[in-house]
Symmetry: C2
Subunit: 626 residues, 2 copies
Amino acid sequence: MQFKYLDNKPLETALSEYISLLQDTQSVKTEVIPVKNSLHRFTSQAVYATTSSPDYYAAAMDGIALRSSITFGVNETSPKILEIEKDFVIIDTGDCVPEWCDAVIMMEDVQYIDSRFVKIVNSAYPFQHIRQIGEDICSGEMIISSFRLITPSTIGALLAGGVEYVDVVVKPVVSIIPTGDEIVDIADKISHKGKIKEFNSAIFSAYINEWGGECIVYPIIPDSIELIRNALTDALTKSDIVLINAGSSAGRDDYTSTVISECGSVITHGISIKPGKPVILGIAGNKSVIGIPGYPVSGVIIMNTIVRKVIELWGKIYRESEMSINARLSKRLVSSLKYKEFIRVKLGRINEQLIALPLTSGAGIITSYMRADGIVTIDKNLEGIEAGSTVVVNLLKPLSEIEKNIIITGSHDPMIDEIDDILQCNKTAYSLSSTHVGSMGGIYAMKRGECHIAGIHLLDTETGEYNTRYVKTYCSEVDCTIIKGFKRVQGIIVAKDSRFSITSIADLVNHDIRFVNRQKGAGTRILFDHLLKKYSIAPDMINGYGREEFTHISVAQQIASGGADAGLGVFSAAKMYDLDFIPLCEEEYDFVVQSQFFNSKGWAVFEEAINSVVFKKRMEQAGGYV
Amino acid sequence: MQFKYLDNKPLETALSEYISLLQDTQSVKTEVIPVKNSLHRFTSQAVYATTSSPDYYAAAMDGIALRSSITFGVNETSPKILEIEKDFVIIDTGDCVPEWCDAVIMMEDVQYIDSRFVKIVNSAYPFQHIRQIGEDICSGEMIISSFRLITPSTIGALLAGGVEYVDVVVKPVVSIIPTGDEIVDIADKISHKGKIKEFNSAIFSAYINEWGGECIVYPIIPDSIELIRNALTDALTKSDIVLINAGSSAGRDDYTSTVISECGSVITHGISIKPGKPVILGIAGNKSVIGIPGYPVSGVIIMNTIVRKVIELWGKIYRESEMSINARLSKRLVSSLKYKEFIRVKLGRINEQLIALPLTSGAGIITSYMRADGIVTIDKNLEGIEAGSTVVVNLLKPLSEIEKNIIITGSHDPMIDEIDDILQCNKTAYSLSSTHVGSMGGIYAMKRGECHIAGIHLLDTETGEYNTRYVKTYCSEVDCTIIKGFKRVQGIIVAKDSRFSITSIADLVNHDIRFVNRQKGAGTRILFDHLLKKYSIAPDMINGYGREEFTHISVAQQIASGGADAGLGVFSAAKMYDLDFIPLCEEEYDFVVQSQFFNSKGWAVFEEAINSVVFKKRMEQAGGYV
C-alpha cells in the first residue's frame, strides 16, 4: 500500500515544455495524393501553378467574336450589318477566341437578322469581354503556401493551376489503449455488476477523426504492468501518438506511469487543472505517450487542451473551437486556488445580453459536455468569479446556433425534452436549453433575467391556486407573462410489488421505508411539505426526507434500482420505469415567459410546438397529462 | 439563332418557393448505424437512454470504502484505527462500492500504518464520494432530440446511456453531370487548345462532402440534348439531388433548361444575383435538379446560396459559415441595381478595427474565392456602398484565423508569397494576406489605415534615392516606419530568341514590338516613365503602352504565351518563364510598417522571416535579388 504524490504543474508550463520536447524529436511525414481527394488535408509545401488559367484567350460572354476595328464609329444612329464567318463567329462563354478576332459583343447587344446576318449598334473596344491568359492564375505563381488547410475552393484553384497531385502532411496515427480491470467492452452483452462500459475510446476516436488523425483502438488491457507494457511497445511501432486511458492517477492499480517510465520517460505527472489533474505526459521512442484519466469529462478536457495541441504539430486544426466570446456569468463560481478549472456553460441571449449559465460540474457527467455551449476557464490564482462578471467563454458550438437557444429553466418535466424534439422535427433552427433547478429556482432565474421561460408548478396552499401568486410576489419588477401549460398527475411512486402497502402520505411514516425526496425549491418538494403539514407529519418521521434528487426521472430511477422504496413524482416518470403509482393531485404546470422573448420568433415556434397535435399525442403516450 | 431571355427573380423569393416545393415532395430516409461510427451524422429521431450511468453505486475517488456510522465523532484529536476487510476495503475510482459500505474516504485523507491497518482523522458522511446511480443519465431520459448533429461528446453520452445503435438521416446522394463540348477531363493529357479542363465537379464534390452528402460524378457529356437527357434520367434513379454543370445560360448550346423541362419542370431560370445569374432550379421525379453556371465562382456562389440549402433539408450543416461580423469597407463598391451582388473580401484588424478589403471580382477568378475571408452582399436595390461604411461580412474562415492576417499591400514581388510560406513553415499562426495595387497604391493604403505593411520601390528621380521621400510626402500624418527590404534587378523581359534585337529602352520604339505595361501607380510603371523621359521617348511611340498588367508574373506570362514581345519586370519573373532579360537597374524594395503593428507579435514573426537564412536561400534560388 504505497502511493505517489502527483505533480501540480500549471497547464501552460507543462504544455509548452512538452510540445517543445516533441518538436525536437518529431518530423512531419508527407505523401502525394490526387488533389480531388485532398479535402481537409494540409499542404506540406508551397504549391505553384504549372499552367495558367485560362491558358488561351477565352470569351467571357455568350455572343459574337470579331475584330474591334470594324466596329469603330458604330452607334444607335449608324448601326452596322455583319456577315457570319466573314465578319464574326458565334461564340459561347469559355470558348477560344479565334486568332483573327480581338473582341466579343454579348448576345444581348446583337440583333439577329437571319442565319447569316446580324446588326450591331455599339462599337467594341480591343479585348472587350475577352479573358486574358493567366487572368486567374499565371503558371509559376504560388497558389497556396505550406501547412495550409485544403478547402473546396483550394481544390478548384489547384486544378485550375494545372496541379493534379499535391504533397500533403500524412495524417497522424493515434493508438488508444483502454486499460483497467473494472472496464468491459461496450459490445459485451453479459451483465457485469460494478463494471464500467468502455466508451472513452469511442469519444477520443471521434475527436481524433475530427482533428484530422487516424485511430487504432486496442482491446481492453487488464491492470497488469506486463500486458500494458506489451500493448505500449506494440503501439509505438504502429503509431505516432499513444493514448493510455485510465491508470493515470495514484490508485493501487495505476501502472501507466510505471510503464511509460520503463519504455521512455515521464515528463509530467499531474497538472493543476480540474477536471483532468492526474494526466501523464510522456515520451517513448521519440513519440508522444499520454496517460489520460478515466472519467469521461476529465478525458475530454485533456483531449481538448493537450492531445489537440500534440496533433496540431501535424497541421492546423480545421474546426474553430478556439473562438471565444464575452458573456455575463449568471451565478457565482467557486474555485480552488490549487487548480485551473474548466467550467461547462450554456449560453443564451436574454434582453440583448449574452448570459453564461454554468452546468453541473462532476467529472463523470459526460452529458454536461454534450449540452455545453462553451467553457469558462477559472485561473489557478482565483478563488472564483462573482455573478454578473464578464467572462470569456471558449465556444464549443457555432455562435449562430447559440443565438437560437431558448433558455428554459425551473421545474423538471419529461415533456420539456419532448418540446425540444418537436422544435427539431419542425426544423425551426431553435433549440431548448433546459436546466432543472426546481420551480422556485425558475422564478428566481426569471427575476434575475437569466432565462427566456421558467417552467413552474407552485401551489398556493392558502387559495389552492397555482403559480399566479408566486409570479406576482417574486417577479413584480420583471416584465413577464404566464402562459398556461398542461396539467399533470402527481403522486407517490412506489417500487413494483413493494413489500410495503403504501396507499397514502400517512403510510410513508415507517422507518423501514426508504423515501427519496426532491431538492429544496422544487414544486414537488413544496407539495410534499404541504401534504406532510396537512397530515401533521414531522419531516424527521420520514426516513430519507433529507435525501434529495433533482428530477422526477432520477427519483423513479432510485426506486427502480432498489436504492429507495418511495418518492413523490409525476405519473409519466413512474410509468417509464414500470413502477406503482398512487395519484395524489392534479397540478398545473405553466410557463412564465419573459416579455421581450414573448414577442420574438423563438416564442412563436415554442407556442406552436406546445399547441400542436403532436405534443398532445406525446403527452397521451407518456401518460398522466391532461 | 434563337435565344431565351432569363428570369430575374430575387434570390430570396426563388429560394423559398423552391425549398417549399421540395419539402412537399421529399421525405427523409433513415438508417440504423453503430454509435461509434456516427460522428457528424444527424439523428433522425429522439434517442432515450436504455441504461443509467453509472448503473451501480461507484467510488468517486481512490481510497477506502466503509460504513459512515463507524466514523462519527472521529477528528484530528480523536483519530480512529481501522482494520482491512473488517472495517474497510481499498477501492479505486469507478469501482463498485460493496453493499455494506455507504461512504468513501479519499486516499489522501488516509494514513496507511501497515498492510492491515489504517488511521483516519476525519469522519465521513453517508454517500460521501459515492456516485449515485443515474448521476449522469437515468434510463428513459432523452439524451438527444431529432435532427441533431452527433459530436464526439454526443457519442460518449449515447454509449453511457446504453445506446449502441442510432437511427440517423441517410446522407443525401448528389449526382454531378458536367456538360459541354468545350470541356475536357482534368486527367486528359492530350493538349486541347481552347478546351477548358473540367474541375468544377471536384470543387462541388468537396463542398457536398463537407456538408454531409455523397457524390456521384458523371463523365463529361457533350452538348447534345439526347445525351444530357440520358444522363439526367440515369442520375434521377441513383441520387436525391442532380446538379448539371454549365449549359445553364442562354447560349446556342445551352440545353440544360430544355432537358429539365422534358423530365420534369423548371421552376426558375435566372436569379438576380451576380455572379450566378443564369442558374436553373428544377424538379424532376420529385427530386431537385439544379443547372449551375459554368464559371467557377458563379458555381461556388450557387453551391453556397442554393445547393447548400437543399442539402440542409436532410439535416443541419455542421460547418459554421453562416457566421457574420461587422467590418469597415476599405473602398467604394459599385453595384448594379439589377442584381444582388456577392463580393469576396479579405479581412484584417488594423488599429483595432476590422477592415474589409474587396478582391478582384471576375466570375472566372476561383483564386479570389480561395483567398477570401468573407463575402459582402450588396442588395439589389443599392447602387453601391461607400468607402468607410460598416458592412456585414459572412465569414468563410474562422475568426481566430482572420485575426492573425497580416495585411500587406503595394508592389508585387514573388518574394512576398515566399515570406508567407516561411510564416507557415515556422508554424507562426500568422498569414500574409497580400494584394497587388502597385507601390503608390500601397502608399495610399498606408495613409488610409488599410494595411499593416506596404511593399514599395519608388524612385525619387531627382535624388536617385528610393522610397523615403514618397513616405514623407504622402504618409506625413501616419505613424509608420520604413524597414529596408531587399534589392532586386529590374529590366526588360523579352521573348526567348525573339526576332527583335532588344538591348535597351530605345529599341522598344518599334511598331512591330508588342509591349505590355504595368498599371498606373506601380513602381515599375514609374520607373518605365522615368526611363522614357530620360531617352526622350513619347509614350505613344511604344506599341502597347496602354496595355496594363498587375504583376511581374503576369507580364512575363503574356510574353511567354506569345501575346506580347516585351515588358518591364524583375529578373525572377523572367527566369520563371525562361525568358530573355536585359538588366536596367537595381532597385530597393522596402516595407513601410504601420507603427502599432510594428510593436506586435505579427511584425516580430514577419521580421524573423525576412532576416532568416531560408529567405536568403529562396531569393538566391529565384535569382535577381541582392
